[in-house]
Amino acid sequence: MSRPAPAIIGSVAALALLVLAPALLLAVLPVNQAQFWTANILGRALVFGIVAMSLTFLATYGGFVSLAQMTVAGIAGYTVAIFVQGAVPTIVGGFGYPAAIALGLAAATVSGALVGAIAVRTRDIYLLMITLALAMGVFRFIETNITWFNGYEGIRNVVGPEMFGLPFRNTYVFYYSALGTAALLYAFVLYLVRSPFGLVLQGIRDNPRRVAALGYDVALHRIASFAVAGFVAGCGGVLATFYNIGISPGSIGLGATVNILIISVVGGLWHPIGAFVGALVFAVFDTFAATIYDRNRFNTLIGVVFLAIVLVSPDGLSGLVRRIAGLLHNTVPTGSRRR
């Protein structure tokens, strides 16, 4: 990030575009189409993007590819669903949305740290496997535990808080909440990686022994980075739960876990923006593949598109844009900075 000025201008332009997105869509699409795109494509992409960004943050700056981020997001969602008033069935209930959301985010942060603590001595494929095992363990635990999580049906009717007198499921309330959360978290991650903590994290990624020799506690930094990623994923998990009017084990199963990895890889693991690019592509294809292609075989199309993206650009779509920009300047970027 040696060019902060263009990067900031780019970010502000993207944010402005997203803030105006509902109005822009309204100009080119019929009314209900614009609403659908606002909430179910862009809004959903932002929510998935937040969860994927927690993975991108860990992978890009720490070198940890974790498969447990959807699980952590789900823990936040389940915590909200368990404590909030009005959920069906009522497990604990009685809490208002602000308190339940705070509890959910705390649970996600703690469980993120816990994942980090359990996986602290592993790297690469072993880290991938241990986080996958944790994710599947939590999934099965939630799926089979009726008393706390209502098993396979999950907890429904978590409608989200009212904001400005409007229900949360109102297209624009949902969209701007997701956008605001995503923008704040994005800025937070960019700030964090420039802070001393973030620099140590990148040092650990490049050479953990040297960082340890400098006197930093590698394990503690690692666990802290997982806790931060847990908080970010938790924000996405809470929003996803409101979007789905509840949560069930399917939301955190193997499919959902792998989707987050796909989103991150398709978008590009070299910068947090990749998570949102990947999420947008994912949301579009997940929604429209069956319309474009044969109903019974649309998963083939999704697979082929993702394969094509990864083949054409190993650092994802956002990396592809960077390459094209580099080609226009007659320079070839050196790819992702690690390996």
Binding site: N32, S248, G255, V284, A290, I292, R295, I309
Partner: protein, 426 residues
């Protein structure tokens, strides 16, 4: 790792992605006097994929027969698919309603999806969701939504008569029940136990999550116990996995089947499970062999249309349920001459009052919660024409959602769950 790509590669890749993106953006034109749009939602992935495919076969066949018209208006049928998970079903339903602008959704297939869509339907105005094949009892029994209609019977109803048959006719005092750990099997187990335990029977439940592939521990436990029969309430690939392992473990108990167990999707699959399934008794809304002109006509049309294109020898339970619910929609549309104005108020009223005979020849009508009251069949699997088929040998007429128990007493028993399996003595 640095991969260099040429300018041309980058441009071709970029153009391809842009093209794919543009294809998704096309917006359907909304014309005056447009056809009625019905959105289909079933599962074409996951454990119930074969049932979901058959559901669309049957729906397509019926719509082709009517030349895609009802109440004087054209019908457009838009298909979507989920994977038996609530959040995916919800995302697809939103797409159908908000993007494809459908008037009515026909679906979903599985229990958890049904409950999620019931909740979603409550947030809609001027749209109707008519069930496909999902059979969780709570979808309509508790806290029903005014926009959710179910012309098919639920899992509890499908067991009407089976508990009494096992206890009284087969004279079995104790059974082991293996069942999926989600809403639909809860409803089935509840319905079975309600009769069986009241008649003095005793039951032990063994639950397994949807998508389980290894049942060996459960089977070992059952083979060590001293029960007189085994009740299997699995379906789809779970049912196949269980029955295959049970056959391989040398299981010899008389079998009682849940409704989606004794079905064309199971009987048409190859494997060792077929040998032990012969003679299995089950209850449900359909049977392969049923002496009713409606049914024989339906089966004949199904075979003529689909046997060469991957269809079963006999339509599946999911196919028949989707068609039964489609009939409800069509009856409503005929009654209002295709008029869906006024936020569908007249149409929904007409659906609530609809009465018709479904493909099995069973009378269908709705109760105050927009839930079907209909006939249930007791079946036995027999070898006919060189293959295993379910043969109806008894019929329980006009079964309601509480199996004839007064509603307040039935509701007081609590919602079916793994801890409330309906085994109430006396």
């Amino acid at each position: 790792m640095t991969i260099r790509i040429t300018r041309r590669q980058a441009l071709v890749g970029g153009a391809g992605i842009a093209l794919a993106g543009a294809a998704g953006i096309k917006a359907p034109a909304i014309a005056q006097n447009a056809p009625i749009r019905i959105g289909g939602l079933t599962t074409l992935e996951g454990p119930f994929a074969t049932g979901g495919q058959d559901a669309y076969r049957c729906v397509q066949m019926e719509l082709e027969r009517l030349n895609y018209t009802a109440g004087g208006r054209k019908i457009e049928f838009i298909r979507e698919s989920s994977n038996a998970q609530a959040d995916v079903a919800l995302a697809r339903a939103r797409k159908l309603i908000e993007q494809d602008n459908v008037d009515i959704i026909l679906g979903p297939l599985s229990g958890a999806e049904g409950i999620a869509l019931r909740d979603y339907s409550r947030t809609l105005t001027g749209k109707s969701i008519v069930n496909g094949s999902s059979g969780a009892s709570d979808t309509t029994l508790r806290n029903p939504s005014p926009n959710f209609f179910r012309f098919s019977t639920d899992g509890t109803q499908w067991m009407a008569g089976l508990g009494n048959h096992v206890r009284k006719t087969m004279n079995i005092a104790e059974v082991a029940i293996v069942a999926g750990d989600y809403a639909f099997p809860y409803a089935q187990v509840f319905g079975f136990n309600l009769e069986f335990c009241r008649a003095g029977g005793k039951s032990t439940q063994y639950w397994a999550p949807l998508g389980t592939t290894d049942f060996s521990a459960q089977i070992a436990q059952i083979n060590r116990s001293s029960v007189g029969a085994l009740v299997v309430v699995h379906g789809g690939t779970d049912g196949l996995a269980f029955m295959t392992q049970y056959a391989q473990a040398g299981g010899k108990l008389p079998l009682i089947g849940g409704s989606i167990m004794a079905d064309a999707t199971m009987l048409s699959a190859r494997g060792p499970h077929r040998s032990v399934m012969m003679g299995m008794v089950s209850g449900g809304p359909i049977a392969d062999i049923n002496d009713d002109p409606n049914w024989n006509d339906f089966v004949a049309r199904y075979r003529a249309r689909w046997l060469k294109e991957g269809g079963f020898q006999s339509p599946s339970i999911h196919g028949v349920n989707y068609v039964t619910n489609l009939q409800g929609i069509l009856a409503g549309l005929e009654a209002v001459r295709g008029d869906l104005s006024g936020n569908q108020a007249a149409f929904q009223k007409a659906m609530s009052a609809a009465k018709f005979k479904n493909p099995m020849g069973a009378e269908v009508s709705l109760d105050k919660n927009r839930q079907a009251i209909s006939d249930i069949f007791l079946n036995r699997i027999e070898e006919r024409d060189g293959r295993a088929q379910t043969v109806a040998f008894a019929r329980a007429s006009q079964v309601n959602q509480t199996l004839g128990v007064p509603e307040d007493r039935f509701l007081a028993l609590g919602a079916p769950s793994r801890d409330n399996a309906g085994c109430i003595a006396g």
